[in-house]
């Protein structure tokens, strides 16, 4: 074979290899969705889908009557996630702005790696901190006897979402062309005005992506909330109630459930609802992102 032919062959082999990788991720995603759907649907032979989504009582092993309502869990998940992001986002954006605009480069060189190390702390460790450190602190602060509640979980999730939010926001602030800031300063804008009115709007698509990815991190996290929120099945009436999120419930019950029972299928149905929720969040993030990118061009 000629040298040229060999090269072409190599080229197309490499191209096919990368194409296959791309196709593989799609196959995996579709496969997971199909498996979830396949395992979830049999649950609705016995449980009405409306009841499943709107009833607040979940007690599949009840000796009286097995109940499969996941509304409490949906509300708990949304509550814990939203509060976590509301705590993490302002702090994260503040740190990002500090690192990109205010901090001395030496400080930045120290703080950035530390933020990245924070991302590497295992969720079990953070959950443990919630039990021994933060829970008792919250209990004392609010005059409760224990701190195993939604707020505890939300704060811990906020800590876990911070590195994502900081890194991505900072990158997008740094990516704003220097000319933007220079123009603003030349027109007599203060550094604060430059940051808030010029740089942040210019970096908005990245910042929104950071927000959404932080939310994705929080919504799917299991171990931390499992350890810190108390896992009571009741409908939450406030942040100081003990709550059980969808992920916690799956983690708690999937290990023990007898296979191919309604309970088993119902747990997959919860997984499916969670999948749809995270898919929705990502879809909205993508739509917002592409809209802003269009406007910039």
């Amino acid at each position: 074979m000629s040298k040229q032919g060999l090269r072409n062959l190599k080229e197309s082999a490499v191209r096919t290899f990368f194409l296959m990788n791309g196709v593989l991720t799609i196959i995996i995603l579709v496969g997971i969705f199909a498996l979830l759907l396949y395992s979830a649907v049999p649950a609705f032979r016995e449980v009405k889908i409306g009841e499943f989504l709107t009833s607040t009582s979940w007690d599949p092993t009840s000796p009286v009557k097995a109940e499969y309502g996941i509304l409490s869990m949906i509300v708990s998940t949304v509550m814990v996630t939203l509060v976590a992001v509301l705590i993490a986002f302002p702090i994260g954006l503040g740190v990002a702005a500090y690192l990109s605009d205010v901090a001395h480069w030496r400080v930045r060189e120290i703080v950035k790696p530390i933020v990245e190390i924070l991302a590497g702390i295992p969720s079990v460790v953070i959950g443990f901190l919630g039990i021994v450190l933060f829970g008792p602190f919250l209990a004392g602060l609010f005059g409760r006897t224990n701190g195993l509640n939604a707020l505890n979980g939300a704060v811990l999730l906020a800590i876990m979402a911070l590195p994502t939010i900081i890194s991505i926001s900072e990158d997008s602030l740094n990516a704003v062309p220097a000319a933007y800031a220079e123009a603003s300063l030349a027109l007599g804008g203060s550094r604060w005005q430059t940051l808030v009115r010029v740089k942040i709007p210019a970096a908005l698509s990245g910042i929104i992506a950071a927000f959404m990815l932080g939310m994705g991190r929080a919504i799917g996290e299991t171990m931390t909330v499992l350890m810190a929120t108390g896992n009571a099945r009741s409908f939450p009436h406030g942040l100081l109630d003990s709550v059980r999120t969808m992920t916690s419930n799956i983690a708690i019950e999937l290990g023990e459930v007898p296979y191919y029972t309604t309970h088993y299928y119902a747990l997959f149905a919860i997984g499916l609802v969670l999948f749809i929720m995270t898919f929705g969040v990502n879809l909205v993030a993508d739509l917002v992102l592409s809209k802003y990118q269009e406007r910039e061009q």
């Binding site: 209990a139 195993l148 896992n231 009571a232 009741s234 023990e256």
Partner: protein, 304 residues
């Protein structure tokens, strides 16, 4: 000719096969006994297994937790040799076993007085079974209603795969639903953690968990409640061996191990050790109670 050409290749293949299969063969020769189930029993069975392995170096036993339900499910699915369970096998599970051809043999290896615990700051010292049931069903929500401080009761419990969860539901709760406010913890140790740090807490654990092994008394910061069968009956402590043995303590129970069919020689030897005098001494040291004559007979029958 052919052989000559590929000699090297065949040699390599042989080496490769040997490398892959030898460890598998070795592992099969030294068979590991799998024990899985009850969280209440895990510490006890682990100590028993360690002691047994010290005496019988050829034996290999792996003890896992997960809850009684998990252990029994594993026995049904054939993924464990021995299931630990702190409740009896349910009819539903028996049916599943028959479907899969699993014929359980059950051994009682120890006796437990399920202990209802509160924080030491709680002035309550005793409850009746009805009161325990009402508290865990959520009918009684404040300690004042049972003679304590005016403070909302903070409920700690186990998850539904726990034998202890089912046992209390069948006895004190009279087969009614648990309150949805129960904070469901992962095991006995976590319930103790919760009750130690929560003044208004109530929790339930196996008696072996409340004992501080260095002092022989209940753990500091915990209070073990006396429990009465009803309003008129006298109340007893789960730390009272006689009361648990005679059943005067109303929530005493056996701790069981089940095998699929008659246990094989190596498993039977381990069970015999557990049931023998040395094993039962360990049971007592771990804070549980040795088995009485009635169980001993049943066990002997099942070993044959």
């Amino acid at each position: 000719m052919f052989y000559e050409k590929y000699k090297k290749l065949i040699a390599w293949a042989q080496l490769g096969l040997a490398l892959v299969f030898t460890p598998i063969l070795i592992a099969q020769g030294r068979k590991m006994i799998q024990v899985k189930g009850s969280d209440t029993m895990i510490n006890l069975v682990q100590v028993l297994a360690e002691e047994y392995m010290n005496r019988t170096p050829a034996a290999k036993i792996a003890v896992l937790g997960g809850g009684s339900g998990t252990g029994i499910t594993a026995l049904i699915n054939g993924t464990t040799d021995v299931a630990d369970h702190s409740r009896e096998i349910s009819t539903k599970e028996i049916n599943q076993m028959w479907e899969k051809g699993v014929k359980p043999r059950t051994f009682t290896i120890a006796v437990d007085g399920l202990s209802i615990i509160v924080n030491e700051k709680n002035p309550i010292t005793k409850l009746t079974m009805d009161q325990v049931g009402a508290i865990y069903r959520g009918d009684v929500k404040n300690w004042r209603a049972v003679g304590g401080n005016a403070q909302p009761i903070s409920l700690y419990g186990r998850q539904s795969n726990s034998g202890t969860y089912t046992f209390l539901q069948e006895t004190a709760l009279k087969n009614k639903n648990y309150s949805s406010d129960v904070k469901e913890m992962n095991g006995n140790a976590q319930i103790i953690e919760g009750v130690l740090s929560d003044e208004a807490a109530i929790g339930y654990v196996g008696v072996g968990y409340v004992l501080d092994k260095t002092t022989g008394k209940p753990m500091k910061g915990l209070k073990v409640l006396l429990i009465a069968k009803d309003d008129k009956a006298e109340s007893f402590s789960p730390m009272d061996k006689d009361a648990v043995d005679t059943g005067k303590y109303p929530i005493s129970r056996g701790l069981y191990q089940s095998t699929n069919g008659k246990p094989g020689a190596d498993i039977a030897a381990f069970i015999q050790f557990e049931l023998g005098p040395d094993g039962q001494k360990i049971v007592e040291r771990e804070g549980f109670y040795p088995i009485g004559a009635k169980y001993t007979q049943e066990n002997a029958k099942n070993l044959k």
